[in-house]
Symmetry: C2
Subunit: 343 residues, 2 copies
DNA sequence: CGGCCGCATGCAATCGATTACATTGCTCCC
DNA sequence: GGGAGCAATGTAATCGATTGCATGCGGCCG
């Protein structure tokens, strides 16, 4: 009977309510511009027909898609998926859809992102990937279509982009100082990926703390790692090859810290008995790991929330570009059992 | 100069190539229907103008969005985010965008999903959530618009839906049997959420194994849990209140197993010394946890890949609904240190 | 009383593609 | 030689909403 009947359009509603489609459209988007009486008739007609807006048609006419694109370096990393979660929440509340683009794949991430905007699939972009550099960003923006953009991974100094960040550098300094305060003097760092802004800033924070405590800087105590557990494992193997080892490590994040600790344990080196390790992020696993991991807690949820809100505000506001806003969030030291006072 | 210039349309290309828009459209989508010469002129014009398709306009006309929707119970769970990753990969290759809907939030998840289709934002749905029941699913489909759907969490018996599943029941039986083979006779189960198909099937598998080994079934050894670590912690507290405790646990998944083990450790009960625990999923963390977790490995990547492929095949094929296809994938027992032979 | 204003509404163009149908010109075959 | 058949292309309708520009009408003011 009613199967495959085409979904009702604004035309149907107009017919039922005995008004023009223009009036229906107005009644739905700016009710105050329509008399109370017809408004009532129209909403009755909407009920009756079961009308819902065809978003595609609106997009075509208004040149907006009510969709934002989130570019993520690696969805599988819980850190990002939690931010993504917060972004989706906020977007849903405000009537936006969320498209995802996982950048690990494909050549030319920039091309892929541009494509979304050139084809009018998304109105704006939340960028979580610290590996894209400014020049590439400008390229995205440079295409005929300017791309409303919020960077939500790391501040890019003096940039013209809106930004939501945590205090990576200061927080890294704080984490390292925590190790120093526990009496450690031989401190290493498990580095993040190359050419990644976040990694760069965390390294700076680490170095700053070492310097200001007048500790000697050992380049061989900088371990090549990354944000993933297996990269933490790799760093551990590099560590094991050393003769002269540090007694404490500041790891780029919790995942790599976990990989690191677990690999060392397999080699008979126990954390925190033989080595103290502090991570970054405070993933849920951090508190359940053995040993529970000291770490810098990032306000992930807030980060995602603010990023989405900032982008949508901008999209719906007057797009005053004059000032790029920067919202900075603070991380917090969480002390757990993985860092131990030197005897 | 060239700023804010409107992006080129198919009209512009047509003008440059001195043909009609119809010809341009044909040249781009079905090149063989256009003479070689004009095809060349057109592709030159495309280059010149920098034309890219306006996906919105196409969507409106063709009534397809080239977008799929992925409904996820909890993005933050690595298990799902890994599947999502695989879905996105496959979709990107085939030219589809991926919208996400995190179902934890909001009233009436079904309403939310319907909304996406009623508004023509997505062409099809991959459902990862085992908590929606069939009646609700039918509701999604029952709206005027039929919703192409692939269920990728659990088979729904005799259902009319396309499905990609792992063998939850058999695998759970296998996991439990693993504990039995190690000599355990006092075995409990850390349950999943109520009204969740996956959880139901894993429980059945567990019970089946217990029965077929002629072990006594202890209802008080079924612990209320869920898929999250904190729910594993809750289950551990329930465990601690028992006088008469099991010596082995089959947990609904790795995350809850981790929460469980970590809470017990805090109470002085060590895994595997005092209790053996096996999980499900083989998350990356499972192998790095202390102790490394025995578990049933699910082919997550394949699962996501197959689900996306099946959906897109269906969308692009002749939509032969006559037979709902079911693709079943096998899980694999991974033995690690968290399960120990009874002395 | 006449003109102006503003409210509520309608008419029709518009967004940018796709596609049914029409047209043209050519080949081929009886 | 005439018509069928086909390939290449054009014309214009169409998808479903939004919105600039009328239009009609009533009220208010000088």
């Amino acid at each position: 009977m009613d199967q495959r009947r085409k979904p009702p359009t604004i035309q149907d509603v107009a017919r039922f309510a005995r008004v023009s489609t223009a009036t229906v459209s107005r009644a739905l988007s700016r009710p105050e511009r329509v008399s109370e009486e017809t408004r009532a008739r129209i909403s009755e007609a909407v009920q009756l027909t079961g009308y819902t807006l065809n978003q595609t048609a609106r997009s075509l006419r208004q040149r907006t898609s009510n969709t934002i694109l989130v570019a993520i370096p690696d969805i599988r990393n819980s850190f990002f998926s939690e931010i993504l979660d917060a972004i989706e929440r906020e977007a849903a509340i405000r009537g936006y859809g969320v498209l995802i683009a996982n950048l690990l794949i494909g050549e030319e991430p920039v091309k892929r992102l541009q494509q979304y905007f050139l084809s009018h699939r998304a109105d704006g972009l939340v960028l979580l990937d610290g590996t894209i550099d400014i020049k590439q960003l400008r390229e995205i923006t440079a295409a005929n279509v300017p791309v409303p953009l919020v960077i939500a991974c790391e501040a890019i100094p003096n940039s013209e982009f809106h930004t939501v960040v945590t205090d990576n550098e200061t927080a890294s300094e704080r984490a390292t100082r925590h190790l120093i305060e526990l009496g450690h003097t031989r401190i290493g760092h498990l580095k993040g990926p190359k050419n990644n802004i976040i990694a760069d800033h965390r390294l700076s924070g680490f170095t700053a703390a070492i310097k200001s405590a007048d500790l000697e800087f050992h380049p061989e105590w900088l371990f090549d790692g990354g944000f993933r557990m297996d990269e933490g494992v790799g760093a551990a193997e590099q560590f094991l090859r050393l003769e002269d080892r540090p007694t404490a490590i500041f790891a780029i994040n919790d995942e790599s810290a976990i990989g690191f600790v677990s690999r060392l344990r397999a080699a008979g080196i126990e954390c925190p008995r033989d080595i103290s390790v502090i991570g970054f992020d405070d993933l849920e696993i951090a508190s359940h790991f053995a040993p529970p991991l000291s770490t810098m807690r990032q306000p992930r949820e807030e980060l995602g929330h603010m990023a989405a809100a900032a982008l949508i505000d901008y999209l719906e506001g007057d797009r005053d570009d004059s000032k790029a806003k920067t919202i900075a969030l603070r991380s917090e030291l969480i002390e757990r059992a993985s860092t131990l006072r030197v005897q």
